[in-house]
């Protein structure tokens, strides 16, 4: 029987970066270096999970299980995985399940997805009180890993062994409803965590039958000091330095980001040791397969991490609700209502329109009566979320309320038919022109009445991004 392997991976790296020097200058604290990844005001763990999963799945929707892990769930009690499932347009027989709360839930999602040959999606928005280490040393990102048989042609790395050491230690916690975590003195848990890591590492390498040193070592932990100490046990050139890559610890997405960084640089035959240290330690040994060289997203993470643009610290605080700014003299937006959302779920989440079977006219949103030929109820579903489009008209709206003004709106004409007008996500002012090529990105437009309003925005089609490429979209 074939062993289990990673058969696909993809990361979503948000566009914005927060410079530590900006935090320091604003708060009058000692200067910091570097920058961390920041999700935009209209992104959350669910929306970023959708983007990472889209990048990983490409055009395929043949999936039996999806596990979503985050420490920053957009909803509790209600499934966030169900929203990711709907946005991806997965089949109703595909399990969509949430693991969450703790950083370690990433391991739960990874193990479950590996067993089911499904998709593990990790996404997090990490922050803390202004001036805190969590704010400074966190990162927002999402990763998806697809699992299958090691014998699959596209298999990237087979799992040789997994070992977990569990134990209770009260070093990091947050009560439900709180927006910032608490931590005990950093030195307190170092001993416990490093001991767990040492045990897990030895055990997993033994189970995998690895006698020499692994070529690549991934160490991920929200406990910076414990992670640093564990890294010192390995050759420097073997260490995949995730925190430097992402500018901070990306919560549940962190181990995935680092794994991708390792896969991106690894050669077939290499061994990867991945260690996640929190509430104990989870260790994983992978052997890289020839398919790694053909992985569709190989090399894209580094490009995405190298891009981005700075967000001013006051804007960041406003986005996170930590700076209570004067609202416009306009009514609150209307929260989406349950029944129409349920009726229109494939449209709202999956951007599924209707195409007239008589004249091919594409309708966004779906219609019963054809605009092109007037025929009634002769429509077929057509998912347009992954189609590229061309900007047919545009305007910059300085009146519209936004946490990142001004709003750029575009009228998009999609390849294969259909038109839709929407906002441009992450638009740098003046950067959009008539005729530009764009695709869609899943965003949280606003939250009102305790309900998140998820829908799609436009973004420049960027072949360099970790997301799907124009060629991959196809027709």
């Amino acid at each position: 029987m074939s062993t289990t392997a990673i058969v696909g991976y993809g990361a979503y790296v948000p566009r914005y970066r927060l410079k530590r020097s900006d935090i320091a200058a604003t708060l009058g604290t000692p200067p910091g270096r570097g920058a961390r990844l920041v999700a935009s005001y209209d992104e959350d763990s669910t929306s970023m999970a959708v983007e990472a999963a889209r990048a990983t799945l490409g055009g395929s929707r043949d999936l039996g299980a999806l596990y979503f892990a985050t420490t920053a769930p957009a909803y509790v009690d209600k499934s966030n995985a169900a929203i990711v499932h709907a946005a991806l347009g997965l089949g109703e027989r595909c399990l969509a399940a949430d693991t969450g709360g703790a950083v370690r839930s990433a391991t739960a999602a990874l193990r479950a997805a590996a067993l089911d040959h499904g998709l593990a999606v990790f996404a997090d928005v990490r922050g803390g009180r202004p001036g805190s280490a969590d704010e400074r040393d966190g990162a927002d990102a999402a990763v998806a890993l697809a699992f299958g048989h090691a014998s699959d042609e596209q298999a990237i790395a087979e799992i040789l062994a997994t070992v977990s050491i569990s134990g209770e230690v009260h070093d990091r916690w947050r009560l439900p409803g709180e927006s910032s975590s608490h931590t005990w003195e950093e030195r307190f848990a170092v001993g416990f965590l490093t001991a767990a890591a040492t045990k897990a590492t030895a055990a997993v390498l033994g189970e995998a039958g690895i006698t020499g040193a692994p070529e690549h070592v991934v160490v991920s932990s929200p406990h910076t000091r414990a992670a640093a100490q564990v890294r010192r046990g390995f050759a420097k050139e073997a260490i995949v330095d995730g925190p430097v890559l992402a500018g901070g610890h990306a919560g549940t997405a962190d181990i995935g980001l680092q794994l991708i960084a390792a896969l991106d640089r690894a050669a077939p035959g290499d061994t990867i040791l991945a260690v996640q240290i929190s509430d104990g330690c989870d260790a994983l040994v992978l052997r890289v397969l020839p398919g790694a060289l053909q992985a569709p997203n190989r090399g894209k993470l580094a490009v995405a991490l190298a891009g981005g643009e700075p967000v001013p610290y006051p804007a960041y605080l406003t986005w996170r609700g930590r700076l209570d700014r004067e609202p416009p003299r306009r009514p609150e937006p209307t929260p989406p209502a349950g029944p129409p959302v349920a009726r229109n779920a494939s449209w709202k989440f999956g951007f599924v329109g209707s195409r007239c079977t008589a004249c091919d006219h594409v309708h966004l949103p779906p219609q019963r009566v054809c605009t092109g030929c007037g025929v009634v109820d002769a429509m077929e579903d057509v998912r347009m979320a992954d189609r590229p489009a061309t900007v047919a008209n545009l305007t910059v709206d300085r009146l519209a309320y936004s946490l990142a003004p001004p709003v750029t709106n575009v009228v998009l004409d999609f390849d294969g038919g259909g038109r839709f007008a929407c906002q441009v996500a992450d638009a740098a002012f003046g950067s959009v022109a008539l005729g530009d090529r764009m695709d869609l990105t899943f965003r949280r437009l606003f939250t009102a009445g305790g309900i998140h309003n998820y829908f799609w925005k436009a973004r420049p089609l960027d072949v360099a991004a970790t997301g799907a490429t124009e060629a991959a979209h196809g027709q």
């Binding site: 129409p340 449209w347 309708h363 008209n393 545009l394 305007t395 004409d413 038109r419 437009l445 829908f455």
Partner: protein, 395 residues
């Protein structure tokens, strides 16, 4: 489509119109009472008891006919409240005309009213229906600003010229409004001030947008053959057209944002009803829906006042100025009046009433014979359009 029209079968014999503005001291009830009293007072020896039925247009200042019957203490008569976006006031008028033309009533009053400044919000606030959260959230100026790059590209008019054309329209309408005691804004604004005003959406500056105001207006309608029993100077209704489009422009790649197709269809219908074959020469004056300056530019072509792609040149040539060949928005338009939705259509008719009767004071045009009013409600690619044509004498 059979659109038979009711050319010359009904006439307006009385009108009233409040000043438009931020009426902090007046309720919508006050504004309606004022407009109706002025309308009744404009007809010699007429009392409100002679009105057989009422049509009230208001977008959001009340629901049902009781919005009007309660403040006026209307004594058990038919009162119908209508709504049709920015054509709401015009829709009240249109339905009132049909009621008289049908013979159902002898004397009907159309009232339009809107109180926008009580909400505490800036701009228009539309009632929000429960939805799935995917509805377009573009603001009105953003939606109408889409006309500019589209027009510019279609006719090779560069950005600077487009800005001059828009500025000229705003200048003209403010200059006209400065001569109107009922207008919200009564100042001539220099072209430099207009052109340099802060940007709102796309190339639209603040002065390219109409304002927000409260107001009310009313018209008394009777059969044409009875008109002289009420007034020595009635005005005759030549055409009434209302068109709703399929509303797919922002979802249909065939739409190019250089025209309001609903207005084109509406104009064709209205001109057929009135027997107008060459609007550019036959129409003496027009009140059109200048919600934003590029709207007025595109309307000049959709209404057949200018050839396609030539409207911008006509604007710059002064063709639509108060002393031009076809004065447009002689009363100052939405630009000077603001836009209390339910009242605007009847406010436009009020200018026709004054001009055709020679009562427009320093704005008075020389011998106007045929006037056109036009409203649109919605956005480029998805709107309703209304047109009326009224004249000084029956054909």
């Amino acid at each position: 489509m059979a659109s038979n029209g009711i050319c010359d079968r009904v006439a307006i014999v009385g009108m009233g119109c409040t000043p438009f503005g931020e009426h902090w001291d007046s309720s919508v009830d006050d504004l309606m009472v004022d407009a109706v009293q002025e309308c009744v007072g404009s007809v010699p020896d007429f009392t409100r008891e002679s009105v057989d039925a009422y049509w009230l247009g208001t977008m959001g200042s009340g629901s049902s006919g009781m919005t009007l019957s309660r403040p006026l203490k209307i004594d058990h008569k038919p009162v119908t409240r209508v709504e049709n976006f920015c054509a709401t006031g015009s829709e009240a008028f249109r339905n009132a005309c049909y009621a008289v033309a049908s013979g159902a009533y002898d004397c009907v009053m159309a009232v339009g009213a809107e109180k926008l400044k009580d909400s505490g919000f800036s701009g228009l606030v539309l009632p929000a229906l429960p939805g799935d959260g995917t509805e377009s959230d573009l603001t009105a100026p953003a939606l109408f600003s889409l006309l500019v790059p589209a027009y510019s590209q279609a006719y090779g008019v560069d950005e600077d010229v487009m800005k001059r054309v828009m500025t000229r329209i705003a200048y003209k309408n403010h200059a006209n409004g400065a001569k109107n005691e009922r207008a919200q804004f009564r100042k001539v604004v220099s072209e430099e001030t207009i052109a340099c005003s802060p940007l709102v959406a796309g190339p639209l500056g603040i002065f390219d947008c109409s304002g927000v105001a409260d107001g009310a207006a009313a018209a008394l309608i009777v059969r044409a053959e009875d008109a002289h029993r009420y007034s020595d100077n009635p005005i005759y209704v030549k055409a009434l057209s209302l068109i709703a489009g399929p509303g797919q422009g922002s979802q249909d790649p065939r739409y190019d944002f250089t025209s309001f197709t609903e207005v084109v269809a509406c104009a064709k219908d209205a001109y057929a009803q009135a027997g107008v074959t060459d609007p550019r020469t036959q129409i003496s004056m027009a009140e059109v829906h200048d919600c934003f300056t590029p709207t007025e530019l595109v309307l000049m072509e959709d209404l057949g006042f200018s050839e396609r792609g030539a409207g911008w040149q006509d604007v710059l040539d002064g063709h639509f100025d108060l002393d031009g060949r076809l004065p447009v928005n002689p009363d100052g338009g939405l630009k000077s009046f603001g836009h209390p939705i339910g009242a605007s259509g009847l406010r436009m008719l009020f200018e026709m009433w004054l001009q055709l009767r020679g009562e427009a004071g320093e704005r008075q045009l020389e011998n106007p014979r045929l006037g056109l009013t036009q409203n649109l409600g919605g956005q480029p690619g998805a709107c309703v359009s209304f047109i009326s044509i009224v004249g000084r004498e029956p054909n």
